[in-house]
């Protein structure tokens, strides 16, 4: 899932610069991780009280997929918001809104900005794709969306995201006690991905995967922005 973290209130207020605002949460990853669902929309509205004028609160199903484009054609901003979001409070005042503050990830914010005339601002910083590890209360990045998955050769452990240098051919000389050298300065124990890959490959009897020289990643398809032609089904 996609992990996010709230922006400081000062930055949000700076973006809004006094505009009357509608808050829109998302029912996807951010709701699951309780950073951008209905409860957090109400919480943020409470925090903004006295600093910004919040006219309406709502939650869309998924801001990364709003609805079919034709369903929005010919509608005003207020009507579009009514169409794509479930009301939490104050949708009768949507016509007054001068901006939307979205609690979704960067995909959701851009999606929303693409269908509204008024400005859409992000309430959160989007961090990465990963999972939550309950033990230690930590969110861990797992996938960088590099476009060239090597998990089949690395025992299901990604060296692109989990090695601090994204090395392709084994551990560097910085590993100590199974930890990445960055642990020394990061103030936390970061496991060395390549020690984990080595141990798991060995356990699986597939250490030969590590003996093969892996090519450098091609970045020709990961230039910004990445676009791919839609291809449904299994090729």
């Amino acid at each position: 899932m996609i992990h996010t973290r709230h922006k400081p209130l000062e930055e949000i207020l700076q973006m809004l610069s006094g505009a009357k605002v509608a808050l829109l949460g998302c029912g996807g990853c951010v709701a699951f991780y309780r950073t951008g669902g209905a409860a957090q929309v109400r919480e943020l509205a409470e925090k903004l009280r006295g600093h910004a004028e919040v006219v309406a609160l709502g939650v869309s199903n998924r801001q990364c997929y709003l609805c079919a484009e034709e369903e929005l054609s010919g509608l005003s901003d207020a009507e579009r918001i009514r169409k794509i979001a479930r009301e939490l409070e104050g949708f009768d005042r949507l016509e007054e809104a001068e901006a939307v503050l979205s609690l979704a990830c960067g995909v959701g914010v851009q999606n929303l900005a693409g269908v509204l005339e008024m400005p859409v601002y992000p309430a959160q910083n989007t961090l990465f794709m990963g999972r939550r590890r309950v033990e230690g209360d930590i969110d861990i990045e797992l996938c960088a969306g590099c476009g060239d998955c090597v998990l089949g050769y690395t025992a299901g452990i990604c060296p692109v995201t989990r090695c601090s240098k994204s090395l392709m051919n084994g551990p560097c000389g910085g590993v100590f006690n199974g930890l990445c050298e960055v642990s020394r300065v990061a103030g936390e124990e970061i496991p060395c991905a390549w020690v984990e890959i080595y141990r798991r490959l060995k356990k699986l009897g597939r250490l030969q995967e590590m003996r093969r020289i892996r090519e450098a990643k091609s970045h020709s398809s990961s230039g910004i922005p990445r676009r791919v032609k839609v291809q449904e089904g299994v090729e």
């Binding site: 240098k165 000389g173 020690v195 080595y198």
Partner: protein, 294 residues
């Protein structure tokens, strides 16, 4: 392939080969480099030039190597993957060859977060295995885009190895890949413990490349503690720590300990040693003399 550098000729001749190390200064004063060159030239056959260790900014490797060539100390050009993508790495390699540099050492490089430039973008477009192969590819007369080179470089390619880290098998697998990619010699992280020398010898006995264990003088208890805390896989025997603690003349003790380690390296059958003076350039001659390896 025939030996094209003094360093490789020395290794092939079977004589105990000593490489040194030049630490480029952080400012633009070539005299600081020349001073180190003068101190090392009579005692080592070649010297490595570090590439901004831990990402702290110092004089670039190429310029330092060029000064060494002017002053007749053969350079071993260290290249790391931290700051340069494959374009810059190849470009610098071709420039290095044009300057007359004949030995290179392909390293991963420390993460920028380890030092003062912690906000810098880590590059790591290649890794040390792929960097080794990049140098081999250039040697073979092509660049990584497949273009033919009419005047290709002909580097002797070295690689690093950390003998103290666990699991050693993972490190050895990577070293084997570096050799498959074209590595001709190995220089290791510094070693203070004969048990590590033994482990290194045993773990690499199946490999047909010269391995030069690293030795760096321990100048103080503080430095020893710093190394223990910051150099991966390092172990310093209690006996050495006590000698430093009880020392009345730290320089003398440092020279003695380094000399004993150099001597042990030879006794364990290694073909040479990589001596990193870490500021004690003036004493390298004395370390070698006391070691009795010559």
């Amino acid at each position: 392939m025939s030996a094209r550098s003094r360093f490789m000729k020395s290794l092939r001749s079977g004589s105990f080969t000593i490489s040194g190390e030049i630490d480029p200064p952080k400012d633009a004063n070539p005299a600081e480099v020349v001073e180190q060159i003068e101190a090392l030239r009579e005692h080592v056959v070649a010297a490595n030039v570090t590439d901004n260790p831990i990402g702290d900014v110092i004089m670039c490797t190429l310029a330092t190597c060029a000064i060494m060539l002017q002053h007749d100390l053969e350079p071993i050009y260290q290249a790391t993957c931290r700051d340069r993508n494959r374009i810059a790495l190849q470009s610098d390699a071709i420039g290095a060859a044009a300057l007359g540099i004949k030995n290179v050492l392909a390293l991963t490089g420390d993460h920028p977060r380890m030092g003062r430039s912690r906000d810098a973008k880590p590059v790591f477009d290649l890794d040390s295995v792929l960097l080794t192969r990049m140098f081999s590819t250039l040697n073979s007369g092509r660049n990584l885009s497949g273009e033919e080179l009419e005047h290709p470089p002909s580097f002797h390619i070295g690689v690093g190895f950390s003998p103290g880290v666990e699991p050693i098998e993972a490190e050895v697998i990577k070293l084997e890949k570096k050799i498959e990619a074209g590595a001709e010699f190995v220089q290791t992280q510094c070693i203070y413990d004969e048990r590590v020398l033994e482990k290194l010898r045993d773990a690499t006995s199946h490999l047909d490349v010269p391995i030069l264990p690293g030795v760096a003088p321990l100048r103080s208890v503080g430095m020893a503690k710093f190394m223990l805390a910051n150099v991966p896989g390092i172990s310093i025997p209690d006996e050495l720590m006590q000698r430093l603690e009880n020392s009345r003349n730290l320089t003398e003790t440092a020279i003695d300990i380094a000399a004993e380690l150099v001597s042990a390296v030879k006794d364990y059958g290694f073909p040479g040693v990589h001596l990193m003076p870490v500021g004690m350039h003036m004493h390298v001659g004395e370390i070698i003399k006391r070691s009795g390896v010559r």
